[in-house]
Amino acid sequence: MLFFPSGIAFLYSYKCNFMCRHCSIGAGPHHDEVLPVEYVEKALREASDIASIQVVVATGGEPTLFPKHLELLIKTAADFGFVTRLVTNAWWARTLEMARRYVRKWRELGLEELNISFDDFHLEYLRLFGGEENVVNAARAAVEEGLRTVVAVTRTRETKIDASYVRKLLGDLAEEVIVADDFISPTSRASGLYEEAVENLPPFGGCAHAGSEISIHPNGDVAFCCGHITTDPASAWFTRVGNITKEHLWDVVDRIQRNVLIWYIKFIGPHVLVKKFNEEEEVKHICHACHLLATKYWKELETRGKEWIINDLKKEIKGLNVRVLAK
């Protein structure tokens, strides 16, 4: 096979105590559906049979709102030997003492990486639970506990907070924290920010996440990527390839590995397909390209069919230069 999954993300609920305008997941307080814990356990047990899976991520929604799920996920994943990562908005870190209490507990369960989401959009809601000091407290507690610590910033052309702002905010911690900049995908709730979204597409090749990072959703659906279109009602179906409540994870992974459209998305890119169907189409983000394929260009894609995708994939791969890609 050409690729294997290396990570699995659990979005066991889309419930969040924030309702950020840029959220491409569409998370918020109104979501009530939660994946039962036994399926979290089942998915982890089955993932442990797939040797290529190394990383388990708790994300959402705000995963810390479901402590029973989170604790079981971290503990079970750590027991199976996975690297464990928690993605959070840091609402729980109003004071350094509070932050230390939470982080110490997660660390004892086996957490290895804390990934804090922080930007202009998160800050609007973080103020209700403290403010930007929460990010510093959470990062400090994580560094003290020896966790790999990341602050992920999502931007548009009009936002103020970027990586250098965060480094300044972190002060003496900046040396020990990875600060990552990214741009929004104008899908789901973030489609309202279409005009200020920056065009951000990979210079070579397709989507690194497709088929390599799979995600599990509140209703048990498994998606072939970590995806930003997972809750957009118009395009969510496009990434769903199975359901953990009905089948073994390996059966889903097997179908992902045999789907030639996913190969195309991974190696060539969904944006290349969109441009083939309409050169004038504006594509802002690689997830936005999948959204367009699922909505505007699905009929076209379905009509051209599997053989056309196979032939075009061969043609496009021939044009790729692996040495350039390797650099």
């Binding site: 769903r240 045999r258 789907n259 030639v260 995708i309």
Partner: protein, 74 residues
């Protein structure tokens, strides 16, 4: 709606993967168990070199004897 229309059988997937891998392996200069153009080209160049040397020796011998250079016993 789903992506099942784009599913390959295990055999199709293996064949296509091999096909795509070989395309890239040729381009990246990786060695393959399959025959490549390197061997025939090398054999062709070697053959040209052998013929050229043989012709040069024949001309030299002919000149040697034709003009009765001392020592020609042919």
């Amino acid at each position: 709606m789903n992506l099942d229309n784009f599913l390959l059988t295990p055999e199709e997937a293996t064949n296509l993967a091999n096909d795509l891998f070989q395309q890239q392996a040729y381009k990246s200069g990786a060695s393959l168990s399959e025959p490549t153009l390197v061997v025939p080209i090398f054999a062709f160049v070697l053959a040209i070199a052998v013929v050229a040397v043989a012709v040069a020796v024949a001309i030299w011998v002919w000149v040697w004897c034709e003009f009765d250079v001392e020592g020609c016993n042919i």
